[in-house]
Amino acid sequence: MTLHTPSSPADLAAVVAEARRAGTLLAVAGGGTRSGLGRPVQAAAKVSTAKLSGITLYEPAELVIAAKAGTPLREVTEALAARGQRLPFEPMDHRALYGTTGEPTVGGVAAANVSGPARINLGAARDSMIGLKFVNGLAEDVKSGGRVMKNVTGLDLVKALAGSFGTLAVFHEVCFKVLPVAEGERTLVVAGLSIPRAVEALSAALGSPFEPTGAAHLPATAGEAARTLIRIEGFAASLAYRTDALSKLLAPFGGIETLEADASAAVWAEIRDAAIFSGTDEAVWRLSVPPSAAPALAERLAPLSPRIVLDWGGGLVWAGVAASGDAGAARFHAAAKAAGGHATLVRAPDAVRGAVDVFSPPAGPLMAIQRKLKASFDPAGVLNPGRMYPGV
């Protein structure tokens, strides 16, 4: 496979123009740490953002940072941390799950709309993305949004492109709004709850005025009962007050233990990265549903999936399943649909992901709109063909 590593937007546009002219299909890659996410792409050439790297703007007092798409995410998070700031959406690191190495990039996070536990309160990557520069499938260098927090000028292509998995355009620069790191964090843990009770507890916490930034449930393991976890963040006096108030609220669900600072951070990193599935050979599914649908969904999946993790108050369901056959595709998509949501096959061998729906297909007329959108960015279908759906 030919590898292109353009080092400027103009070079990038030239690569796409040439592919378009020659009728070559182009795979699009950042750090490649999430290459297992989506359908396998069949392409003769690959364009990598590796040489489009570097922070281009950072104004801490304006809560904004911009970087070229190939910038290692670590560079951005370290620059932010040095000024007591962070990306609000707590992006998952897929490396442990996939066993990949290398560096996740800014462009990859944006293109896959990678978001973690804090999404429940602080939004997804798409909510923090305020500006995007990209080359579309027509080799045009286009921008949308900018570097200011409020901007409704013209169509919001930034959101349309967040989570488009390189199928509409190759990003070359992304601008995010950021937030201060909270002064402290703490996690309240209730042990031994069933999934229905856990979702009730999470829902009570999320419906309280105490603003949890994490609400998850980890299944029982050999040595340990199931744990229902609620994270709060803030300054010391606020943490103390909210711990107290939430403990009262959750008293009917059982005794409460707390995890402080590092222990709290560690457990949320595990939840964020779906760590219980790393190092296993199961296929891994991620279902996004209304939280109150999670208990029935979990019951339906239980015969296939012994271990189920809930995040987002029950709105995000992680499940492992034997990687054989269709890796449960038919049943997971049907179950997600019945629950009012959708499913993604996050991890499975290429052959499986090439043969089944990795992402739940949008219903008929919606799929038609998706195709129109694809055609308006990449009419010849040059970029990452089929990564999301056949032909898209």
């Binding site: 999404r119 292509l157 002064e183 309280s208 606020s238």
Partner: protein, 483 residues
Amino acid sequence: MAIAFPAPRADVLAKRDRVVAALRAIVPGEGVITEEKERRAFETDALTSYRRVPMVVVLPETTEQVAAIMAFCHAEGVPVVARGAGTSLCGGSIPQEDAVVLGVAKMNRVLDVNFADRTMRVEAGITNLAISGEVAHAGFFYAPDPSSQLACTIAGNVAMNSGGAHCLKYGVTANNILGLKLVTVEGEIVEIGGGALDSPGYDLIGLLVGSEGQLGVVTEVTVRILRQAEGARPVLFGFREIAQAGQTVSDIIGAGIIPVAIEYMDREAIHICEAFAKAGYPLDVEAMLIIEVEGSEAEMEAMLARIVDIARRHDVATVKESKSAMETAAIWKGRKSAFGATGRVADYICMDGTIPTGRLPDVLAGIDRIVKGYGLRVANVFHAGDGNLHPLVMFNVNDPAEQVKAEHAGEDILRLCVQLGGCLTGEHGVGIEKRDLMREQFTEVDLLQQTRIKTALDPKWILNPAKVFPLDAPRDEAPREAA
């Protein structure tokens, strides 16, 4: 007049009777408005200096009716301007003589409230405030709070991606919508998203929010609702120098404190609003910040102590905390009625640019210079935390020359915003008002990418024509199909 409307199409006007008959067959009774004096009620929005009486107005009551209307208008090539409450400040809902106004105001029911999932499904014509009103008894609310919230509809909010004073913490409309029911231009009904936090495929909700009625008609919306904070307290900070206020905002955010709201008013705005709302604003200062914090009593105290400390470092002249719910209400009434109160003093046009917050002093000096250059006055109210400016340029509507000057001043201000790294509009939208300025911010290919999407979803360009894109914006000839 400065902003051009395309000439009404004779072929469309010629079939008016047929259009009316078809609409009557779809929407029975009083839902089709044909009398000229009744149509006149729909001739403008909050950009009142421009008016066009529409060909006919239709007020459907169901999504199926909307679908039938769209199918007919699309087949016949008749322009359609969707309308909520008509409070757009950028002329986004101003019709044209050959257009059908499709008003969703009668579709205003609450369809479902789900406290466990913290979501609510409503018809698109419900007002912003009625959504919060429906769940207030349980201590919940819908967060984006445009000052027009008593009147404006969620349909309009979705179309404009509206913001409000409390967006600094809670985000704008786009961050608070989970699902839409959309009628396409061809009259197809599409459900997008729903109760889950995201939906499969491309983020169509993200694309549709803020699309100003260009891509389809929204008939239902699923919003996130949130639990109210235990308490909220606004504090007024008066400064003798504008720069001190700007520096205070930067330092608060730089210190890692994100209040719920940071609103800025200059001397002119303070005086106008105080006369109207009797909110106790300090009258002897050049600039005032309203900073609101939320939480329990102890949390608010702790956060305010830090904020006050920062303000004192910048020689704040007055610090005044709200001591009661009544004072809180008065403080916000003053701010939220800034436009109305200014309207009692003079006619005005309201600009809506955004700038990087660090450029606040530069932009204020620039606005002052621009407005004085035209011999006009300005009152400035800003969402200072996110750099969204609302200079209200005042003029006398009975003096056409002065109106033109005001429009030019407004345009110069927006150009300045873009030059300083900002944008033309932070929350009010482009509409007709900023349509011809789009090239200040976008290149031809930037615009072309947008018009391609428009063409893909509205091939005949009948939805809300002559808005958002310059009339001569680049377009591909034919809709493109994937290979």
